[in-house]
């Protein structure tokens, strides 16, 4: 049963990265676009993501609940030592979530819209940035349970070059996912070309920031290369990711909306796999060389069993209705909606 729980944990992080990532990315693209394109992004994304928007951040909540019920020690260690970026991410989530709703449901359209938009786009970039920092802190061996001064316990645990570059990389990936997604949502040739251009820019940005991640890892003496290439799974995952990226690049302007989405999703999944597989089941590496492992830190059997049953039971209800939701709106997208947008 423990493996069921771990699978759900991984799946919810994965889905949050993909779906939530595309969602954040929409704001990031809006941030870097100007004028008419900015409005286009906004309206297209609202139409595409609106119905599943609420469901998106549920993946994050599920991951958190799994952590605190099943692996409380991992949850509390992170809560203590990475408190500050977690808080920053939460503030980002609050700002973004509320700004999204405010701008779509405010009955009057006036200058307030500009304020909501500004909050929305900035928090769309800040939130994944801190998400990346938090993810980086789990593997950078900077969390020091013995530290007795404030800086090394609560600041250096996450604030370092590696964390920052991973943060930026995460932002680029989100933008990339969103750009690929939007290509399939716009209808005119001109719009498609515009978003294809953005998608290409995002690929380049992700590449550059990815290179910086490796550089920073090297400087911080984090054996990232060994982890990724030290095991055949990592090798295959990275090879698959690279091939799909090449295929993606070549098919971007060939009007294959579904294919490029699958390729992009596949690519991100491979990166996540490569990043997590090598030190599975250890998910938090600590400064003293020890690590928190999903196997050793798991709660008692009875807790894990009931958690697993709750998750399985939940998915019986959730998955079919979620698919039906996506399917319905995919099919009926062009029917006139009475909502304002």
């Amino acid at each position: 049963m423990l493996y069921v729980v771990i699978a759900f944990l991984w799946a919810s992080i994965w889905l949050y990265l993909l779906l939530g990532g595309a969602d954040f990315g929409a704001g990031i693209i809006e941030l870097i676009s100007t004028g008419e394109n900015r409005n286009k992004t906004r309206h297209t994304m609202y139409r595409a993501i609106g119905p599943i928007w609420e469901a998106n951040h549920m993946w994050l909540i599920i991951a958190i609940v799994i952590l605190f019920v099943g692996f409380p020690h991992i949850y509390t260690t992170m809560s203590i030592f990475v408190h500050i970026p977690l808080t920053a991410m939460l503030l980002g989530i609050i700002a973004r979530g509320t700004a999204f709703v405010f701008r779509n449901y405010d009955a009057v359209e006036d200058n307030m819209q500009k304020i909501y938009n500004r909050i929305f786009v900035y928090s769309s970039a800040i939130t994944p940035f801190f998400l990346g920092i938090i993810a980086a802190s789990t593997v950078s061996r900077k969390i020091d349970k013995e530290a007795d001064d404030f800086l090394s316990a609560y600041i250096y645990s996450w604030l370092n070059g590696f964390g920052i570059t991973v943060g930026l990389f995460t932002v680029c990936i989100c933008g990339f996912l969103a750009a690929i997604y939007i290509i399939g949502e716009v209808n005119t040739k001109e719009d498609k070309e515009h978003f294809i251009k953005i998608a290409k820019k995002m690929v380049v940005a992700a590449f550059i920031s990815g290179a910086f991640v490796f550089l920073a890892a090297h400087l911080e003496q984090i054996p990232l290369l060994d982890w990724i290439f030290g095991h055949w799974v990592g090798n295959i995952a990275i090879a698959a990711a690279s091939i799909s990226l090449i295929v993606l690049w070549l098919t971007l302007d060939k009007n294959k909306d579904i294919l490029i989405r699958l390729l992009a999703g596949f690519q991100i999944s491979m990166i996540l796999l490569a990043a997590t597989y090598t030190h599975f089941p250890k998910i938090v590496l600590l400064k003293d060389g020890s690590a928190l492992s999903l196997i050793d830190e798991a709660g008692l059997n009875k807790t894990i069993d009931s958690l697993a049953w709750a998750l399985l039971l939940g998915s019986i209800f959730i998955l079919p209705s979620l698919f039906y939701l996506l399917y319905s709106f995919e099919n009926k997208k062009n029917t006139r909606s009475e909502l304002r947008h």
Partner: protein, 445 residues
């Protein structure tokens, strides 16, 4: 501000903020379902307009509730890591089930909000009902987690170890039923009165009378029925507290000395140093009766409880008084409204009844906040009653005060924006929904 106090205040602030949105998210879908049902049955455009106007409000509240809830699930660990480390695996069951309930709620809301004219009307109506049911279910589940903190169950606490964990038994702890019932009713009372009051105000202002009257009626009926049941369920809660948390009961009642035929104390100023209440009205025997169903029986006073286990008395007592007082007022208003509905239809056309409802707008929510202060502050100094002290649970990280200031600023600005949006939403009703001609379709804003 000291860090421990800051952590407690931040938790209280976040929960106090979340509960308002949670209540609205749990209850409004039922109001909408009724209006929606009436529209589907009668075809009167005004009911469709009411449903739609409400659904926009709900979308605002839902999202705010969702983000504040997300914050809470992190805050439990950010502020109380020691607590979560031990409690997580025990009281986690309701949270994992709640995840499912939330998810279903979010999916159903997606169908409901974006599904107008896209689906079979009854399927669309049904998705709205699902939003309500799953909202209620999630509310009941979280309260089960809170009830566990008041009435720990499902484990053995031996030498500081938490052994023989049984998550199911923990979920169905002794306090679960009374708290869940009381909270569910409270959500209906508070939302019902607040929504009814806002529509009453618009009726008084003479705007879109028909629209606001229909909306008022739906909300008022839900709110008043629940308001009559609320004190009954409160009585169940009080008896329950008397059994499992005598210190909390004593603090609620400012009952300093154990006595037989204990009096109920109403009003007055609590003097904790001298262990007495001055200038209060005392009704002999009533407390004994409330706590044990027997006006002669002795009620444990704070003098029988070790000093280090005393909760803060004054604030618990005042909060309790506020809750009960408002509960009584709302019950009274409910009876007046029933008389108007059943016997004196003429009252319904008078202005005074609407005015009373306008006055009652904030009452339910104030009572909810007060009620939670009773429950949570009355539990102090324990975070898990009798097992873990709140001081021992707090995060070791210094500087929580700053985090508290930031969150306070954020929550205050959010509340202001939500109120501002709601005000605009209500103001636009007359522009968006032209109710003079029932055949007119909806104009876009």
């Amino acid at each position: 501000m000291d860090d421990f106090l800051a952590a407690r205040s931040q938790m209280a602030l976040s929960l106090g903020f979340h509960i308002i949105f949670a209540c609205i998210g749990m209850v409004m879908p039922f109001f909408m379902a009724v209006a929606h049902y009436k529209w589907l049955r009668t075809g009167q455009q005004v009911y469709k307009n009411v449903t739609k106007a409400w659904s926009k409000g709900v979308a605002i509240f839902f999202a705010t509730g969702a983000v504040s809830g997300t914050v809470l699930s992190f805050e439990l660990g950010l502020l109380w890591p020691t607590f979560m480390e031990h409690a997580g695996p025990i009281f986690g069951m309701p949270f994992s089930l709640e995840g499912t309930a939330f998810f279903i709620e979010a999916i159903a809301l997606g169908f409901f909000l974006y599904g107008w004219d896209k689906f079979n009307p009854w399927f669309h109506w049904f998705t709205g009902v699902v939003v309500g049911i799953s909202g209620l279910a999630s509310g009941i589940l979280v309260v089960a987690a809170n009830a566990w903190m008041n009435s720990p169950a499902g484990f053995d606490y031996i030498d500081g170890q938490y052994l023989h964990i049984d998550p199911i038994e923990a979920m169905f702890n002794d306090a679960w039923f009374s708290q869940a019932l009381h909270m569910t009713l409270a959500a209906f009372v508070a939302t019902g009165f607040a929504v009814a009051g806002v529509h009453a105000l618009m009726v008084l202002k003479g705007r879109n009378i028909l629209f606001h009257q229909k909306a008022f009626r739906i909300a008022a009926i839900f709110g008043t029925v629940a308001a009559v049941l609320q004190p009954l369920s409160g009585d169940i809660s009080a008896k329950d507290v008397a059994k499992r948390q005598p210190a909390k009961l004593a603090a609620m009642e400012a009952h300093f000395h154990t006595e037989k035929s204990a009096p109920l104390i109403i009003g007055g100023i609590v003097n904790e140093e001298e262990a007495q209440v001055n200038y209060a009205l005392k009704i002999p025997g009533l407390l004994s009766w409330m706590a044990h169903g027997d006006s002669q029986k002795a009620v444990t006073g704070l003098n029988q409880i070790p000093k280090e286990d005393h909760p803060p008395v004054a604030i618990t007592h005042y909060s309790f008084q506020v809750m009960v007082g408002l509960g009584m007022l709302m019950m009274l208003l409910a009876f007046i409204y029933f008389i108007a509905l059943l016997k004196k239809k003429t009252w319904l056309s008078g202005k005074w009844l609407y005015k009373l409802f306008v006055i009652a707008i904030p009452m339910g929510f104030i009572a909810i906040e007060a009620g939670w202060m009773v429950t949570e502050i009355g539990r102090q100094p324990w975070i898990i009653h009798g097992v873990m002290r709140t001081v021992d649970a707090v995060t070791p990280m210094p500087g929580i005060a700053y985090s508290f200031y930031i969150f306070t600023a954020v929550y205050i600005s959010l509340s202001l924006i939500v109120m501002f949006l709601l005000y605009r939403q209500i103001k636009m009703v007359s522009k968006i929904y032209d109710v003079h001609d029932d055949e007119l379709t909806i104009k876009h804003a």
